[in-house]
């Protein structure tokens, strides 16, 4: 449009008539600009469809069906991803394995977030001795390298929890174990961040105001402080899912993760490196799926971080 007086006036009037964007819409807009993050969302949707939707085409018993005469077959029409060492179809196993891997990722992050926020909030809000003790504990846990702590804890819990039935699927008890130990070894970073936020927020005027009118501590924490520190929690949780899936793959690779026959992408890689050149399809497919998932989640997390925190925008 040409820059005429009428056009400029029209634009100015438009400015007044269009309501300002709410914070949520602003975040969404900024997120949308991050092309890779949007791509990440599409990939995640695809993977979820793959794991959940694929279950409608191939049953779980098919995924666990062994046929030793057909072991270690390369990809073919009948078995698009090939078969594993006891003749199970790898495509079906990646579908069901995907369900478990994603489940582990989500629930581990849930545990991690709950524990981290709880400890961080209590420490930050109460201060004093409680804060000191909790932070010493956090530091102690933080100082032990995660992989070592995981290995020791995995050994500790091994074989102590039986199988469970949920949503029509049978899970080995080691899934619960993995979820808990993943969550229990990664909350420390979040606790620190939440505590820092709480420490600074609790001195603000609106908190003092809430306190003077008699709002209970719990209400203050949940309704006032927590919503304001959501940004780092969300980002940390998102990236935490990627991290959890990766770490699950690591400990399954070392043989201490989810026990067969329950498949996860991680434990399909366990022992597959003995077949590195004789049967590469054993590890290529689950490996690619792990990389795709983690990549997508990392993109989304990166996008969220940029969108939620205006200070890191660089132009």
């Amino acid at each position: 449009m040409e820059t005429t007086v009428e056009n400029v006036a029209a634009n100015v009037l438009d400015e007044f008539e269009i309501p300002p964007l709410s914070p949520r819409e602003l975040v969404w807009r900024r997120f949308r600009r991050h092309k890779m993050a949007v791509a990440g969302i599409f990939i995640i949707i695809f993977l979820i469809l793959y794991s959940v939707g694929g279950a409608f085409f191939l049953s779980e018993s098919y995924a666990n069906h062994t046929d030793t005469s057909k072991r270690l077959q390369p990809p073919s029409a009948e078995h698009p991803f090939g078969t594993d060492t006891v003749g199970r179809d790898i495509l079906a196993r990646t579908i069901y394995g995907g369900q478990i891997s994603l489940l582990i990722g989500l629930f581990a992050v849930a545990v991690e977030t709950i524990v981290g926020v709880l400890i961080g909030a209590i420490a930050g809000y109460r201060g004093g001795l409680t804060d000191s003790i909790l932070m010493r504990f956090t530091e102690a846990m933080f100082n032990i390298p995660q992989l070592f702590l995981l290995l020791v804890m995995a050994k500790f819990f091994a074989g102590k929890i039986p199988t469970i039935q949920l949503l029509g699927r049978t899970f080995s008890g080691s899934v619960i174990v993995i979820i808990f130990i993943l969550g229990l070894t990664s909350w420390m970073y979040l606790a620190r961040i939440v505590r820092a936020d709480f420490l600074s927020l609790k001195e603000r005027e609106f908190i003092l105001a809430a306190r003077t009118i008699g709002t209970s501590n719990l209400e203050i924490i949940v309704q006032h402080i927590l919503p304001n520190s959501m940004a780092p929690i969300i980002v940390s949780a998102t990236l935490g899912v990627a991290s959890a899936i990766l770490v699950e793959a690591y400990i399954s690779f070392l043989g201490l993760g989810v026990q067969p026959p329950t498949a996860t992408w991680g434990n399909m890689l366990d022992g597959a490196y003995n077949y590195i050149d004789s049967a590469p399809w054993l590890w290529i497919f689950p490996g690619i799926l792990i990389v795709l998932t983690v990549l997508a989640i990392n993109f989304v997390g990166d996008g969220l971080r940029d969108a939620l925190d205006p200070r890191t925008l660089t132009e």
Partner: protein, 344 residues
Amino acid sequence: MTQYIIRRLLQAIPLLFVISLILFVLMRNAGDPLATMGGRHLTRPDDRARLSRQLGLDKPIYMQYLYWLIGNDWTKMDVDGDGIPETPGTRRGILRGEFGTSLITRGKPVLKIIWERLPNTLILMITAEAIIVVFSVVIGVYSALRQYSLMDHMVTTVSFVGYSMPIFFIALVSMYIFAVNFKKWGLPYLPTVGMFDPQTGKTSAQVALHMVLPVFSMSFTSIAGYSRFVRATMLEVMSEDYIRTARAKGLPNYMILFIHALKNASLPLVTIVGLDIPMLLGGAVVTERIFAWPGMGRLFLDHVSRADTPVVMGILMLISVAVVVFQLITDITYAWLDPRIRYT
């Protein structure tokens, strides 16, 4: 400053106690080292009862922890099973510098076991860390300066991919390409097992050759992550006012880059590297397993799987102490580098 250091060191002591307690309890409940002492046969009950007594494993867990901490030469042990303690203990405990002896390699001091493997891990990790730092800085700076260019996008994408890959996937892929397939295609190929070829001996050339694939696998992931970090901090620094002033003053670009921007951007990197160094001692557990590198990571895996508490505790405590010490060093270095920070 000295006061600060002393205070931090004093704070570290209860921390280490808590860590050791948590780990000890976990380890003692994580499997029975006596269960597999029969080799391929079940351990005989008489031997199991006897060994449990002779190795001090029948005591309640707090007593075992106490002996591990301060030794048992101040008390008598019942070694011959008659119920009456008569033999003075010989252990001095970790607080007096004795890490105990391994349960699996009976009688071999834990420190000796660790010392045999420690140099191997250090060689690998220090090389890897050096490569990681150099390349992260170079790539990160380059990306920051050439923001949104094609190169930047390519590097960013590769970084993301590398960052998302489990380390063993990269190791497997690199093994597959550079060792297995190169060999098939008749190209010179890289070795994938161990630290040196035993027939040729432990020479620098051999070790360097065997280091290539493990270092590559480890660096790839870390360079991916750190270069993004460097890029972000560089971008932040480059948009600061004092850089703009320097440019307005007409300073040549390389001076701005190296003297002003890089120095300030590298401060957070110091924190990260400082915190990474104690992790070096742990070794890259997964990498060492894949490439059969005889280091601390593999030592840990072997002994954890056979529930050898003294060795596992020895390794973990060494790492924890190193972490605490290096955190302190990092903080002090940071304060020294950044004049804005003053510790009371």
